[in-house]
């Protein structure tokens, strides 16, 4: 049975459109004359394919900005936020980022979601010497990060694909199949899954890349199910995952699914019901649930948006806090390069652990080293600005995500 909590979804119907509006007037945006602010750009995919995630990423950014400003700013500088919609389109993103750079004179751009947007805007932000923070998964982001100004808060799809294969192996599956949404992130994930699996002498029973925006994926799914897989690595967004899982459930064929955490979560359960989502394996950056930074963030996020934050929202929150701590560490007079230099320092191992901006700031003020562990991951940046998080492996049981184990993220050999 698919039970939908009416009051909740009715709320969602309005919230997604309007409640977000309440924050339109950007909190804490009043600044005293002559106060030196840090001008922060948010470039989110509000519309387009990123539509289900972008608006909430912006909310998370606003929330973090409010937190920093409520604490009196970083190194005495309050954050002033300028938000733009990139429409999940590279060419719209180019103009949006130019506007942020030229008109708003921002010093950093956070919240970039799509790899295509990240790759298209990188030449501009690099030319302008801006710090950028994104959730892009394309490995090309690392090679194009020529000035070391870009920070990838999401694991690259190579790491994700590897983790999926590792989970399949640990769970003892023998015949995995791969199904993926046709975009660069998911095709990458699918390819890395395949190569990681085959590197250990296994074979992938079926490999299907499907076109998005269809009303039925039955034929594609049938193609996968015909190979009698015991598990399907499904790299999908929520709309297509909803249809595919619905059709899989209806088919009555038994198999498991391994899916990314930003798709296999409570929202998916809400859309499909408990029965069809029972036993799905959901993989996401470990942090969620137990971590204090996440708990606090999730609670605040929930009071504003009436829903659980997804991993992208958590990452966006971390971007702002990380930036604020780096600014605090570099001092009020620091330029962008100096602030950028501190990002690795305030997140790297060896410092005193901090879970919020105020905690981290107080540690810094005592003259100690700080290690910010964020709401999305422990945030240890590699040499190209990439994060290699540990992954939490969750099973969906009776409509809830239950953590089963934690596996270390690693790059494919």
């Amino acid at each position: 049975m698919m039970k939908q909590p009416y009051n909740l979804s009715r709320r969602a119907f309005l919230v997604s459109g309007t409640a977000a509006a309440g924050l339109g007037a950007l909190p804490g945006q009043s600044f005293a004359q002559g106060e030196r602010v840090f001008r922060l750009g948010a470039l989110n995919s509000i519309t387009g394919i990123g539509g289900p995630y972008g608006p909430y990423m912006l909310e998370a950014i606003k929330l973090a900005v409010a937190e920093v400003n409520a604490a009196g700013g970083a190194a005495g500088r309050k954050f002033q936020l300028f938000a733009e919609d990139d429409q999940t389109k590279p060419e719209a993103a180019v103009l949006a980022v130019k506007k942020l750079v030229e008109i708003n004179k921002v010093e950093a751009v956070v919240g970039i979601w799509a790899s295509s947007v990240g790759l298209a805007t990188m030449p501009i932000t690099n030319d302008a010497n801006l710090i950028t923070m994104n959730t892009c998964g394309a490995p090309e982001m690392l090679t194009e990060n020529k000035k070391g100004l870009a920070w990838m808060f999401q694991a690259s799809n190579a790491i994700f694909g590897n983790a999926f294969a590792e989970v399949a192996r640990r769970r003892g599956f023998k015949r995995p199949a791969v199904m993926a949404f046709n975009n660069s992130t998911f095709v990458g994930q699918a390819n890395y899954f395949k190569s990681a699996w085959e590197a250990n002498g296994g074979k992938v029973s079926a490999f299907v890349i499907y076109e998005p925006n269809q009303s039925s994926y039955r034929t594609e799914l049938a193609r996968v199910l015909a190979s009698k897989p015991d598990v399907i690595s499904l790299s999908a967004y929520r709309p297509d995952a909803t249809i595919i899982l619905k059709e899989w459930y209806q088919s009555g064929q038994d198999c498991k699914f391994i899916m990314p955490g930003w798709t296999a979560n409570e929202d998916l359960v809400k859309a499909l019901g408990k029965e069809a989502t029972e036993g799905l394996i959901s993989i996401s950056n470990v942090a969620a649930e137990q971590h204090p930074a996440f708990k606090r963030f999730a609670a605040e996020f929930k009071t504003i948006t009436k829903r659980e934050p997804d991993i992208f929202a958590a990452q966006c929150y971390d971007m702002v806090i990380t930036l604020a701590l780096a600014l605090e560490a570099a001092g009020a007079q620091a330029d962008v390069a100096a602030i950028n230099g501190q990002i690795r320092t305030v997140t790297g191992t060896g410092g005193t652990k901090a879970n919020s901006f105020v905690e981290g700031r107080d540690i810094l003020r005592k003259g100690q080293k700080v290690d910010y562990d964020g709401a999305s991951s422990r945030l240890e940046f590699g040499k190209h600005g990439e994060t290699v998080p540990d992954f939490g492996v969750f099973d969906i049981q009776d409509g809830r995500l239950v953590l089963k184990e934690t596996i270390p993220g690693q790059l494919p050999a």
């Binding site: 119907f13 459109g17 289900p52």
Partner: protein
């Protein structure tokens, strides 16, 4: 490919085809009588799907009421747009009506997203398993969908071929000048046409919402395959539209077993080209000369 996969693909094609037959019929009727390809068709479907969701949320769960509500809503909007836009453009070029219909499509969709946002919605219905006949799978929900579509189609065909309004409609489709000369008042026919076109898009959208998920681009994404199906059947031919879109959907599903999903669209385009080059009047249409 074994024959069971092919059979399942065919069944899936039939279900999608029957579902799309409703808006396809709307396209072909509008094309035949109001004489332009209506680009707002897809977004009328989207409107139908969202009305279903809204009605379930705010009025309670009955799916039948929700679907009927969706049909009423889209019929009303379709009539409104006729009275405001398309009636005034009746004497102008096809292209001006086509462009205006793109404007209508944008306006309808953005109004929906303004209130509902960009995230997905699902129609609240229990999930049921398919009946399995030795690997051939048939879904009870699909049977309802095909049944609803069939009843709606039968009703319209009865009206078109058995009632005076239907006769007038066909007369205008055949030759507007002749129809006008023999004293047929176009106004009543037009009202009937736009109401039916709207209601059918609404029904198609609602059924699609039940089958899939409800997103702002739901109908817009289907315009291309629907036009291709209509052309395949012969533009302006109601029976052709239904058979055309069903054939087309089956072809797409079966083809995706062999050529890979991405080439569905390319295949659609190739079919369309071949039909237009070899038999421009389509499977059932009257020959239409180049203007």
């Amino acid at each position: 490919m074994d024959w069971i996969s092919i059979a399942n693909a065919v069944i899936n094609g039939v279900v999608i085809g029957m579902l799309l037959a409703l808006p396809a019929l709307a396209i072909t009727l509008v094309f035949g009588i109001a004489r332009f390809p209506n680009a707002a068709t897809g977004d009328y479907m989207t409107l139908g799907a969202y009305t279903t969701i809204a009605s379930q949320m705010f009025l309670g769960g009955s799916i039948v009421v929700a679907v009927l509500g969706a049909m009423t809503m889209t019929a009303a909007i379709s009539l409104l747009m006729y009275f405001w836009v398309f009636r005034a453009l009746a004497e102008r070029s096809h292209v001006s009506r086509l462009i205006a219909s793109i404007g209508v499509a944008f306006a309808v969709r953005s109004t929906i997203t303004f209130f509902a946002g960009q995230d997905q919605y699902v129609v609240d219905l229990p999930l049921v398993r398919a009946w399995n006949f030795g690997g051939i799978r048939i879904l009870p929900t699909d049977l309802y969908i095909v049944g609803a579509a069939l009843i709606a189609l039968l009703l319209v065909f009865c009206v078109m071929y058995l009632t005076p309004t239907g006769r007038r409609m066909r007369a205008i489709a055949d030759s507007p000048e002749l129809a006008a000369a023999s004293g047929i008042r176009a106004r009543r026919v037009m009202i009937f046409l736009w109401a039916v076109a709207g209601a059918f898009c609404g029904l198609g959208g609602a059924l699609l919402g039940i089958k899939a998920v409800v997103l702002p681009e739901l109908g817009w994404e289907l315009l291309m395959p629907m036009f291709a199906g209509v052309i395949l059947g012969g533009i302006g031919s109601p029976v052709g539209a239904v058979l055309g879109i069903v054939t087309f959907s089956i072809a797409q599903e079966v083809a995706s077993l062999f050529v890979g999903p991405a080439y569905k669209v390319v295949l659609a385009f190739l079919i369309l080209l071949c039909v237009l080059l070899l038999r421009p009047q389509g499977m059932f249409g009257r020959p239409i000369a180049a203007r």
